[in-house]
Amino acid sequence: MSVFTIEAGLALLGLALLLLEALKPEISRRTLGLTAIAGTTLALVLFIFAPHDSASQPAFIQPWHQLDSLAIFYKGFALVITILVLWLTLECAPYLTRFTVDGKLAEMFSLPLIVCAGMMWMASARDLVTVFVALELVTVSFYVLVAFARKSAFSLEAGVKYLILGALSTGVLVYGIAWIYGATGTMSFDGIAKALANPATSKTTALFGAAVLLCGLGFKVAAAPFHMWVPDVYQGAPTPVTAFLSVGSKAAGFVVLTRALDAFLVEGSIIGSEIQALLLVVGSLTALLGSLPAMFQTSVKRLLAYSSISHAGYLLLALACRESARFDLSSGGIVAFYLATYLPMTVLGFLGLGLMRANGLGEDIKDFTGLAKRNPLLALLMTLSFASLAGLPLTAGFLGKLFVFLGLADHGYWGALSCAVIAAAAGFYYYFKTILAMYTTEGTDVPALTFSVPAKAVAGALALAILILGVYPKPLQSVLTGKSQAHKVDSK
């Protein structure tokens, strides 16, 4: 079974679920949710065992679909995050249904499948048309998902903000595509790379197009100054959707960004140095603008939003560091690695939030007070998640940061490195603030928290992933190394 079949199947499964709910409205959300999870898990299993070479794909998709290492990694990534989000939705369902008009969640189980398919296609895209189409599929689905709990004023507000700003960024993106196309005469990444390596190409036009295009993509990955939607939308959206946005959508954005930058920064590119400088500036700014305001947040969910901005900054900085002979990971590899470490820690954080909401608690830091007493295991796991987000060693988060720092230092980008360091230092403050709340016991005499065995299992697995990635990243690295090598060959 080819990878493409799996992707298409996933989208079809989403449609089928929609149809099922429409025809049999009495079907329980549990069944729907479990079916979706089972389907995605099956897809993941099939995907793992499917042949991973382009040749095995149907011929008609070859012009726009590629199956290099990066694509494979992100496809797997998308499947995993989708499963987690579906499961989180199921876990959060009791309180989510309070905010939907009919008390149902059917689309919350089917739309993620379609989104997942869209993200998988984005990962494989070879040209800007495919990127645009897949990206819009994902974005439009997210418009719906963010505003899904529309009885909540927050969710609706988030929906409106995401809609307006998202549409604005789509406009910018298309405008950028237009200019890139104008400058290079092609929409495919390979063609763009080839054209940019040609000195005859008009530099100003190319620069303009690339800049506008990157602005459009920057919105998707929450790069400063296009990040301002993130805190509001993340805070307002239902928690599973927030997790999906902050991990899935961001990863998809980064895979496209990686592809675009691979083209823009190709060997001998006429716009290479400018774009690289832009990345450094924007990355540093993003890391700072994510970290600094986060220090004053009182809502953990909003804090995680800012944290995700800050992490986007590191990822952008990683993208700015091109290959180094002394380093087995390409910048795309580092980004992939970082995202792989980012997944468990962020999802674990949102999982904790969701579980607390499910227990009737709020999302403020003060709601975390005394968590260690009420549920030591959850507190321990959340501590691990926040420690990893802060980048404490022996957790996954540290390695990601270390690679970024190594890359920056290796290229001598000291200014960017110091911004990253300042941002990380500020990060200590707000992550530790939350950790402190969990262990504070004064003035709280609240009953113990309980959560289900599967929840424990998933959270435990994520925590384990954080630790394993933190101390034994070799398997992941070797996967990425092999793949980014293949990717290099592919893109040439």
Partner: protein, 105 residues
Amino acid sequence: MITLGHYLVVSGMLFSLGLAGVIARRNIIIVYMCLEMMLSAANLALVGFSRFHLVNGLPDYTAQSLVFFTITVAAAEVAVGLAIIVALFRSKQSVDVESVTKLQG
């Protein structure tokens, strides 16, 4: 003589006009209209480039395909967007951008 530059400038002005509207207007529906204007401006640029980038002596139809997709996507976005705006109006009795300022800080 009308050059590609003319089209591009018109497209750019339309794009800027849309942007100005998006920033300046308070009625979300009008904001949304301005967004459609921006998309159309991008389309104009695309079509312009495609006309002047001949492939086999013909306009480049890949770009025009993208324009086609953009228009379609815009339509879908409008549908979803207006639905959200309707939902907003239902809950706030207003489509003013200032009615959504609860999330901040």
